[in-house]
């Protein structure tokens, strides 16, 4: 676990440090986005929503599969809560998707 923390910090630093070097050039020819905050927000909106949705649906699918593996006769009873749970979790990711599109319109 401690090694993982060091690895994570190292990866982040190694990825983000060259951005400081690029910032010098970027100031020269300038970004063409007049509202970079909206663009950044759009990316973050769908990215984080997708992360949460992926985790939630992965847990749902895993638990449903474990339930069916434990008791194969329960597959019919588990079908409806499975689809319902997936669709409800999906709706949160889709709200993030729609937010991203609305923000892209404001760029």
């Amino acid at each position: 676990m401690r090694n993982f923390g060091k690895l994570l910090v190292f990866t982040l630093v190694a990825t983000l440090l060259p951005l400081a070097a690029f910032a010098q050039e970027a100031g020269a020819h300038g970004g063409s986005a007049s509202n970079w905050g909206a663009a950044l927000g759009a990316g973050l909106a769908f990215g984080l929503a997708g992360l949460g949705c992926g985790l939630g649906q992965g847990l749902t699918a895993g638990n449903t599969t474990a339930g069916i593996a434990r008791n194969p006769g329960a597959a019919g009873a588990l079908n409806t809560p499975f689809i319902l749970g997936m669709a409800l979790i999906e709706s949160i990711a889709l709200v993030g998707f729609v937010t991203a599109f609305l923000l892209i319109g404001k760029v």
């Binding site: 319902l84 669709a87 729609v98």
Partner: protein, 239 residues
């Protein structure tokens, strides 16, 4: 180029209205065909052989009836026409939205909002009609203690000031999430198909249209299942 362009340009009929009327026309046609089949002298008792329209619709109706009995309870037949109509209307609108020259009514927020508002009104009306003033009780949380005033026992729900605003906001958000879930699913699939059509116009958009086919069935199913669950929660007796 869409099927609705002519009426839109001549009589200024909005395409959403045209799409909804087309879906209703298809639905009425399907139901007329099935009823004609069931009105035949031997109809209704034995299922047909193989895959026929009546068999497919019977499978769907039986599945929805089973779900309705599980969620709404023993008088699910009162609400079954509404839920079945919503399922088929949403399904046909979604499927029409996938066809390239034709648009579906579920790609617009207004139809989804109309369906969600209808379900909202129906479950509140059913709950109030079943329970009267006590319908508010389940918004106010569990009874924490009992208090005797002049010989009559009151179940005091002490967490009501905390829970009532939260529950009312959650209840209002059901309308929003029902409509936005449907709209966002259809919008996402149309956008993905359009993007892939711009990149690789040969075979790949068909794969995403297949995904759209699955999604339209699932979204119609989820909309009607959630309607049944909301109705069941509104009219159930407290445990």
């Amino acid at each position: 180029m869409s099927v609705y362009a002519w009426l839109y340009h001549t009589l200024h009929v909005s395409w959403v209205l045209q799409a909804a009327l087309l879906a209703i026309a298809i639905l009425v046609g399907l139901s007329a065909a099935v009823r004609h089949r069931l009105a035949a002298p031997d109809g209704g008792l034995l299922p047909d052989e193989g895959i026929t329209l009546r068999n497919m619709i019977e499978v769907v109706v039986e599945g929805l009836a089973n779900l309705g009995r599980q969620t709404i309870g023993h008088d699910y037949r009162k609400f079954f026409p509404l839920v079945g109509a919503i399922f088929f209307f949403v399904l046909i609108s979604n499927l029409l939205g996938l066809v390239p020259g034709v648009g579906g009514a579920s790609s617009d927020i207004n139809t989804g909002l109309a369906w969600a508002i209808i379900v909202f009104c129906v479950y509140h009306y059913a709950g109030i009609r079943r329970k009267g003033w006590h319908y508010i009780d389940h918004f106010m949380g569990p009874p924490m203690f009992d208090r005797q005033i002049f010989g009559k026992t009151y179940h005091v729900r002490a967490l009501a000031p905390l829970l009532l605003p939260i529950e009312l906001v959650l209840d209002a958000s059901r309308v929003a999430t029902l409509s936005i879930r449907l709209l966002a699913n259809m919008f996402a699939d149309h956008t993905v198909v359009a993007i892939w059509y711009g990149l690789v116009p040969i075979v790949l958009p068909a794969v995403f249209m297949g995904l759209g086919l699955v999604i339209s069935f699932i979204q119609a199913f989820v909309f009607s299942l959630l309607s049944m669950i909301y109705i069941g929660l509104a009219i159930e007796d407290s445990h």
